[in-house]
């Protein structure tokens, strides 16, 4: 019987299904697998141990950029497990008979028996042609399923700011991953082709890159008391213009109309109670904040480009 792993036992894995699977390392069976959940989260899964009843796997939620760093050997496997981006790893005990997950424990790598995870300093090292092929496969996996469940006409309608923020908040667990994935694709010079009825690729990309910024906005908005600000509307198109730098924040703010809440207003006009000057001030502050996220977006792109370049450089150095 395998040793119990301390941590929080949860009813099951945090995904509905895994939509992508690629065996990266095989030794008398799959040992290292890259998987992607239906909500876009990537997982790198290490085979850990087995007995007659269960096979144990350690799942690390991972962003694309971190994944590249681990696969190319820049980051040792144990370091990645010991400092997970989301703060946890999952230990899954799987039945060999049915492939069903018997136990799921949310834990940290240091709680896992140390002989059951990679040794200190052990690195993966995808090299040369293998790296090129794998990179292509990763890109295919990322583009395979639109990470956003948006409909095309979403971009055409106005929605409450709060809902707009919630739209992003629903993606928080994978937000940084998606942001980096899409920015990573751009850094590679790959056009993001998202199938189905999703919004245009450039819209997705812009959204994704400012998601970390929007988390900050979400926190600010959620800290506000429940006031009429909750009814404020900004068109998604305007928000995107802001994000993309097509329109500056002050210009948008100057167009915000103060109207009677009961009045029938055009779709793009936000609704504020005339007396709600505080809310107005907050809105200005928040929109000014968005401007700074545009700058953050540029920094993210630079960072992503640098990481891809470093990964490529590492592989080419190893090949020579």
């Amino acid at each position: 019987m395998l040793e119990a792993i301390p941590g929080t036992k949860i009813p099951g894995p945090p995904w509905r299904e895994l939509t992508f699977e690629h065996v990266l390392q095989y030794y008398d069976g799959p040992r290292l697998i890259l998987r992607r959940s239906d909500d876009g989260q990537l997982y790198l899964a290490w085979w850990s141990d087995a007995d007659q009843n269960v096979e144990r796997w350690i799942y690390l939620p991972i962003s694309l950029m971190r994944l590249c760093s681990v696969l190319t050997g820049k980051t040792p496997s144990r370091n990645a497990l010991n400092s997970p981006e989301d703060g946890y790893v999952l230990a899954l005990d799987v039945s060999p008979d049915t492939d069903h997950v018997i136990h799921t424990v949310k834990t940290i790598a240091s709680a896992v028996p140390q002989h059951s995870i990679p040794l200190p300093g052990a690195r993966l090292g995808v090299s040369g042609e293998g790296w090129k092929a794998l990179k292509a496969r990763l890109l295919a996996a990322i583009v395979q399923t639109p990470p956003y469940d948006y409909h095309h006409d979403t971009a055409e309608v106005s929605i409450p700011i709060r809902e707009f923020i919630h739209l992003h908040r629903g993606l928080v667990s994978v937000a940084s991953v998606i942001a980096q994935q899409l920015a990573g694709l751009e850094a590679l010079g790959v056009n993001v082709v998202v199938g189905g009825n999703g919004p245009p690729p450039e819209v997705l990309r812009d959204y994704a890159m400012v998601v970390p910024g929007f988390q900050e906005v979400a926190r600010t908005i959620n800290s506000l008391p429940e006031t009429t600000f909750g009814k404020a509307k900004i068109s998604l198109v305007s928000a995107l213009r802001l994000i993309r730098g097509i329109q500056c924040a002050s210009e948008i703010v100057s167009k915000l109309a103060v109207v009677n809440p009961g009045h029938q207003v055009p779709v793009e006009t936000p609704i504020f109670a005339p007396s709600d000057l505080d809310d107005w001030t907050r809105a200005v502050r928040i929109i000014e904040g968005i401007d700074s996220f545009i700058q953050a977006r540029l920094r993210i792109t630079d960072m992503v480009q640098a990481t891809w370049a470093a990964a490529d450089h590492m592989v080419s150095e190893r090949s020579t």
Binding site: V23, Y27, G29, E55, P96, P118
Partner: protein, 134 residues
């Protein structure tokens, strides 16, 4: 002669007689029989599950993993300590059956080795590295 439970097309037509050293992760020194049992013969249920999920075919589960580059073997047993803590060098010739290159993203020198019936692998294997050394 192949074991009777091998499917008709196993080993695959692309496999050939070994003509170089191979390296295998094992648990015993000196190597013992149970270091050379394929997944299929070790745990048929697990093998069948992997076949059903499309991760491998039956023939692959009846072969053994080896590396021709000892560096890949070392990297593997450092990555998955529970696989074993020793590396054996296998000096194989045509009596040993057939091998096929089956490279992976991690472990490019990965091979699959199919042993004939009545072959005694322990006579061709010698431990050359322990985990504590590397």
């Amino acid at each position: 002669m192949w074991p009777t439970d091998f499917p008709a097309d196993c080993p695959p037509s692309g496999a050939s007689h070994p003509n170089e050293n191979h390296y295998q992760i094992i648990k015993n020194d000196p190597p013992m029989w149970d270091d050379f049992v394929s997944l299929y013969h070790q745990n048929q249920i697990l093998a069948q599950r992997r076949i059903n999920t499309g991760r491998v075919n039956q023939c692959e589960t009846m072969g053994l993993s080896t590396y021709t580059d000892i560096g890949d073997a070392v990297a593997c047993f450092r990555q998955f300590p529970n696989l074993g803590d020793k590396i054996a060098r296998l000096t194989l010739d045509q009596r040993a059956g057939k091998v096929q290159e089956t490279p992976r993203d991690v472990g490019e020198s990965h091979h699959t080795w199919w042993m004939p019936q009545y072959f005694a692998p322990t006579a061709f294997a010698r431990v050359v590295a322990y985990r504590w050394q590397v």
